[in-house]
Symmetry: C2
Subunit: 125 residues, 2 copies
């Protein structure tokens, strides 16, 4: 599924968030698919269920999953992302692009990189 890095400065629940988000964005987890339960994922990653709960809670607020009490958590659709998440991403995108241009990369190189990213995304139709 994905792995944790305890040497990373970022908190575990952030790594869980990014790991799940990545699986959904790349199509490894498709829309409507059931995610592992809080306790199950906690057991797999050998961490506390509370930490998983925190990650799920945040992902739900970002629009990446919805939850039904007693049934479980499920991956949301593409159009369900929050505006706040989109703004955050655009900020990260612009900052990275500006700095990479400063470091000598060309607009063509970055544009080509987007093409490759477009290939990775949405392999799930």
């Amino acid at each position: 599924m994905f792995s944790l890095n305890y040497r990373d400065a970022r908190p575990i629940y952030e790594q869980v968030k990014e790991g799940l988000r990545r699986l959904m964005v790349t199509g490894a987890i498709q829309m409507g698919e059931k995610l592992p339960s809080v306790r199950a994922l906690a057991g797999t990653l050998a961490i506390n269920p509370n930490t998983i709960q925190r990650a799920y809670e945040a992902l739900e607020q970002e629009g990446y999953l919805y939850t039904i009490v007693g049934k479980g958590s499920f991956a949301a659709g593409k159009g369900d992302g929050s505006l706040a998440r989109r703004e955050t991403l655009l900020g990260q995108f612009d900052a990275a692009a500006t700095e990479l241009l400063f470091l000598g990369m060309t607009t063509e190189e970055l544009a080509h990189r987007i093409q490759k990213a477009n290939g990775r995304e949405g392999q799930a139709r």
Copy 2:
């Protein structure tokens, strides 16, 4: 110069790093220009000099500034960025691009955004 956000989850020294990096990347601080001293910047931002010191130390390791004991710290040139920093940026760029494409943005929209970023960058020749 730039401002701190105490409600932000990121540590202060990270915000200082990003603030200075942004000023250098956008040309507001040019190559070879002297940066404010550790104590001066600490006074301006109303924080501890140790925190500034930590930010400067990290920026030097990233290749964004060089320092001369007794004289001060100075903005480095474009070609002095570390490879590690470049790899970090490329990772952030790809991740943001992939997720934005998932959320419905087109490659053309992102490419156009890079053009605008290219306008902001390097206004200092």
